[in-house]
């Protein structure tokens, strides 16, 4: 569109560091930086650590006595059942069960107030705001419904520190929880904490950052939400400190290019490609985000459709298409839009994401395939430049994940 592109708090840093800037989701974002190409940056993340600016994503706060129930009405999750300071992958749903956007919901309730921190995709910013506004308006029309206050945190920064060295790098900044240095090995995948970085963010900037263990790469790592300021740039201050404390032999900035190839290897969906308004969580292989207690009761957008799909085939359940992983046995990558064919050459599906896997040295893809052909090991073909290339349905993640679940955990 002709509208001016927005800038994140790290825009100036991207320029200084030689970021190749492109428009993305209404923002000017770096695809990669001049020091490493996309493949090199991808490998760096898996071997050392990378820092991604993800401030283009939309951060929200939902609070109040009705917040949990409101979120439960438009997602298949159970926010109330989320242990304090833990998060879950979720999805905002259309009434027909299609996915409006995928999201992470974190329970940040304290003793006196129910509160949820929610992050949604940058590219869906306008759509999600409209969806939530409408849903909230409908919610508020019922006087029985608990009060909900909803704020978008558009001044906050969000950075992702990912890779095997992420924990030691963050620890070197001596993060404190409630005034005491926190041993980050006690912060497990899926958990969050308010942390201060006293040596780095002081004075006006000293408010705590919400640090969540997890990310979009399959590696161990952290996503850090930093409260914005009108007078300073704490996101830049923290980012520069991380780069300084770690040094360029351990930590580099990474852009959207490697972010995409890393998440593909980890089997994670990209909204607008692998999931969209027409896909239900069941078709997308995300049935697990439908919380157990929601399966019995329903009562969320699309629950009729989704609960029916969750039933066994013999009971009229199931889906006609399923998201699968594919390894292409050819040197040409299969990319979004490539047809998937069966051994007879009939069209049976389509690729929704694909490209070379630097870690595996093979071409990988994600796509939807006719139910019945979705089993691991099924031989298929993908059509690239009018030629059918052999491929095989493969379990995801393509590259084993390394989420930190504590010492000695499996």
């Amino acid at each position: 569109s002709e509208e001016e592109l927005l800038k994140t708090p790290l825009y100036d840093l991207h320029i200084v560091k030689g970021g190749k800037i492109v428009p993305f989701g209404g923002f000017s974002m770096p695809v990669y930086y001049e020091d490493l190409n996309i493949t090199e940056s991808h490998n760096w993340t898996r071997e050392k650590a990378s820092l991604f600016d993800v401030s283009h994503m939309l951060q929200h706060n939902f609070a109040g006595p009705g917040a949990a129930n409101f979120l439960a009405s438009i997602t298949p999750s159970s926010p109330k059942a989320l242990a304090p300071f833990t998060s879950t992958l979720s999805a905002f749903l259309h009434p027909d069960g299609g996915i409006v956007d995928d999201t992470i919901i974190t329970n940040i309730s304290s003793g006196w107030r129910d509160q949820f921190y929610v992050v949604t995709n940058g590219a869906c910013r306008a759509k999600d705001k409209a969806f939530i506004s409408d849903a909230l308006a409908a919610w508020r029309r019922d006087s029985q419904h608990g009060e909900v206050s909803w704020h978008t945190l558009e001044n906050n920064g969000l950075i992702a520190l990912q890779g095997p060295l992420a924990a030691e790098i963050l620890q070197s900044l001596e993060p404190k929880k409630d005034g005491h240095e926190l041993d980050l090995s006690t912060l497990h995948f899926g958990q969050s904490a308010w942390l201060t970085f006293g040596d780095v963010l002081s004075g006006e900037d000293k408010s705590a950052c919400l640090v969540s263990r997890g990310g979009y790469t399959g590696e161990d790592g952290f996503e850090i939400s930093i409260t914005g300021s009108d007078h300073s740039n704490p996101t830049q201050t923290l980012t520069e400190a991380l780069l300084r404390y770690a040094g360029p032999e351990k930590l580099r900035l990474a852009g959207l290019g490697p972010r995409d190839s890393l998440r593909l290897e980890a089997g994670m969906c990209l909204y607008g490609h692998d999931i969209d308004d027409t896909t239900t969580p069941v078709e997308a292989g995300l049935s697990w985000i439908v919380a157990k207690d929601r399966r019995a009761q329903g009562g969320f957008n699309g629950s009729d459709t989704i609960l029916q799909q969750l039933k066994a085939k013999k009971d009229g359940g199931g889906v006609t298409r399923r998201r699968v992983g594919i390894v292409v046995e050819d040197r040409a990558p299969a990319r979004e839009g490539a047809k998937i064919v069966n051994e007879e050459g009939e069209e049976v599906g389509v690729v929704t994401s694909g490209g070379p896997s630097p870690t595996l040295g093979k071409n990988i893809a994600m796509g939807y395939i006719r139910d019945g052909l979705h089993k691991t090991g099924t031989k298929v073909g993908v059509v690239v430049r009018n030629k059918t290339r052999p491929a095989v349905v493969t379990k995801m993640p393509f590259v084993p994940t390394k989420y930190w679940k504590g010492k000695g955990a499996a």
Binding site: I38, T39, G257, S261, A332, P333, R335, P356, R385
Partner: protein
Amino acid sequence: MGAFRAAGMQRRGFAVAAMLRVKKYTEDHEWVELGEDGVCNLGISKYAANALGDVIYVELPELDMEVGFGDTVGAVESVKSASDIMAPVSGKVVATNEALEEKPGLLNQDPEGEGWIAKIKVEHEEELDGLMDEEAYIKFTEESS
């Protein structure tokens, strides 16, 4: 590699052509250079190689393939996208640069030299007349940016 020009010289004639390796460019950013025996080298331009980013795979044309001007004869794959290679002349593919199979990065290092893609035995040398010379091509890329 600059174009060697001599005012008033005809391009036809084998002895003359050997001296006059004039590179021509298409609007699809391929280059073609007519050599001896009516065989020309072709590849993608420096401008195209830079725009593509790091090349990870080159799908070379098939040997002995008969191609028409503008036919897709292969592709160059970078991390994020693929670009078709279009034949800048019609004729028959008589050689492909197998070095690119082992080292696709050669295309980025030297797209207009060592990173040549294929050789075509040209049927109608006049087809090259319609293509841009280096100066016109540079102007064309500046206008498109």
